[in-house]
Amino acid sequence: MAAASTETAIRSSNVTRVFIYLVLLLFALFYLLPFGIMLVNSLKPLSEITGGNMIALPRDWTIAPWLSAWSTAQIGVEPTGLRPYFINSIVMAVPAVVLSTVVGALNGYVLTKWHFRGATIIFGLLLFSCFIPFQIVLIPMARILGLLDIAGTTTGLILVHFVYGIGFTTLYFRNYYAAFPTELVRAAQIDGAGFFQIFWRIMLPSSGPIIAVSFIWQFTNIWNDFLFGASFASGGGAPMTVALNNLVNSSTGVREYNVHFAGAIMAAAPTLLVYIVAGRYFVRGLMAGSVKG
């Protein structure tokens, strides 16, 4: 009897397994469909889109829309393509991500390993910044950027994203370091390491997963941001998202959907790449941070 029942258990679990995989496959296809359509249409001449089926594969494969979107398409008033704006976004995102991650790590380190009066209140206030809607800070931020004389520049955008990111990065690193054994810090103190030596030599080398989390989170948010980009950068200083909008919404001439699709994929590519490269660290880091909090 026992043998029979195990066998049926295995058989039914196989059936369930196939069913689960089918459902998952279906959902995966469903989620991939929009991207597939974008890709397919970015490789067609415009006539095939306007004259026919959007879902069909291209009859004439072409990379002309990609070349156009990258270097010749009309963005606002200049026929520059998306390239300069792509560079803008990189120049903006990389320093902002690095700065906010480093400062978040320092904050987390101080908040968990160097207890001082009011640490919890400061952490609470920092957390609060995660919940302030972007719109609320637009006007005060514009005023401050004006006072600092960096309004409308990429430097200004870096500052905005850096400051706005500190809340999240601090949250990540504080939770991660809360589970980090304090005895290590004490041992390093007895060994004679100072504040920054402990940070660089002991804490940071053990923070790989949470650095990945902070990096992915910050990069995706900063790269995808539209509101700050549209508000605080103008003309040639605009980031990729704003330029993409300008490409798609330009009111002159024919709407080149194939170029728009190519541009949209270009705008999404870096964040996709970051997820593919560092995605598994993302999950691991989130789990590690959530063990103790």
């Binding site: 054994p181 005895e183 004490r186 041992a187 007895i190 060994d191 004679g192 080398p205 053990s206």
Partner: protein
């Protein structure tokens, strides 16, 4: 003036005083063990010696230098932590030399010191590994190596063996003792394990509730405990503590109690301390170690006062080397430690021999030893 002076040290968190006027002088080369149940303040005291916690009042001096407010790295101490606290991102070699590097020792000297220590602890083959690749015992050695390499004035050990399994713990205990014999360094060692305390120390400070209950050699602590807490905390199985009546019979004080059958048993105490006179006719606590209650053949031949005690055997627990016998005495379970082959059977009467030289008396009210 000791080598390490703990001079009337207290520790408070806000209004709560957790450590009360601790006063211990540690001589050079001594192995002092702070032992007590969790929450007794022993780790706090150790952290205060290390400089990881502030001193509320009093002074800690190492080699006559006042250490209050001195940074941990400038006290010339080294500490072995319970979790070993090895830096996970560095190799064993780096772990050992990190402290020297931080103190600005030049590289050739660091390498030499590392080699010497690695040889001493037999961890030369592990130097290139990361802590994550080591077993518990190996980590323990590396943690000791990291402490030794600094050649400190005082070694601090914070429950270093409690993360090891039972067998390894005994091995490492012997190892630490050997190391102490060989190097003759001053050690302060925190543990909650009274066997570790007894075996390792040259002196023990038994702590409870933030007070040092008793400070003395292992023999003093074991044979003449200052109070009921020390008596029952030190020793395994614990000392039997029985409520008895002290009566004078034929000019000799007797401890009078009820046996398993309810009838009276009286144990003569001709060597009772002089202070016991004042307790005649009153109830006191009688403390007898299990090994002081034996079968007549197993009794200590050098004892001056062995008293016979007829009683019914309750339960026997053969433990290989000894057999533990539980009986009812003065209304409580009382454990006797017999030779393994002693002929005792549950439920049968047996003639025990009680070595009253080793018996101690405690005041019921104050719980301190009558001496």
């Amino acid at each position: 003036m000791g080598f390490l002076d703990i001079d009337n040290v207290t520790k408070s968190y806000g209004a709560v005083e957790v450590l009360h006027k601790v006063d211990i002088d540690v001589q050079e080369g001594e192995f002092l063990v702070l032992v007590g149940p969790s929450g007794c303040g022993k780790s706090t005291l150790l952290n205060m010696i290390a400089g990881l916690e502030g001193i509320t009042s009093g002074e800690i001096r190492i080699k006559d230098r006042v250490m209050n407010g001195v940074h941990p790295s400038r006290r010339n101490i080294a500490m072995v932590f319970q979790s070993y606290a090895l830096y996970p991102n560095m190799t064993v070699g780096k772990n050992i030399t990190f402290g020297l590097e931080m103190h600005g020792t030049p590289k050739p000297e660091r390498e030499k010191a590392m080699k010497d220590v690695a040889q001493l602890l037999q961890i030369e083959h592990l130097l290139d590994r990361k802590p994550g690749q080591l077993s518990g015992g190996q980590r323990q050695r590396v943690a000791m190596g990291r402490a030794l390499v600094r050649n400190p004035d005082v070694f601090l050990f914070d429950e270093p063996l409690s993360n090891l399994d039972a067998k390894l713990r005994v091995d490492m205990r012997t190892e630490i003792k050997k190391l102490h014999h060989r190097l003759g360094t001053t050690i302060v060692y925190v543990t909650h394990d009274q066997i570790e305390a007894m075996t390792l120390s040259t002196r023990i400070a038994v702590m409870f509730n933030g007070y040092v209950q008793q400070l003395g050699t292992p023999k003093e602590i074991y044979d003449t405990p200052a109070n009921l807490f020390v008596a029952t905390f030190m020793g395994s199985p614990a000392m039997n503590v029985l409520k008895v009546k002290l009566e004078e019979r034929n000019g000799v004080p007797h401890a009078v109690m009820a046996g398993a059958d309810g009838a009276e048993r009286a144990l003569a105490m001709p060597n009772a301390p002089a202070a016991a006179k004042a307790y005649l006719g009153r109830e006191v606590m009688l403390g007898i170690r299990p090994e002081a209650i034996t079968d007549p053949e197993g009794a200590d031949r050098n004892a001056r006062n062995i008293q016979p005690l007829a009683n019914t055997v309750g339960v026997t627990e053969p433990a290989g080397a000894d057999t533990f016998v539980t009986m009812t005495l003065a209304g409580k379970d009382c454990v006797a430690r017999m030779r393994a082959d002693a002929d005792v059977r549950p439920g049968q009467p047996f003639d025990f021999a009680v070595n009253m030289d080793k018996a101690v008396l405690f005041d019921i009210e104050t719980e301190t030893r009558i001496a």
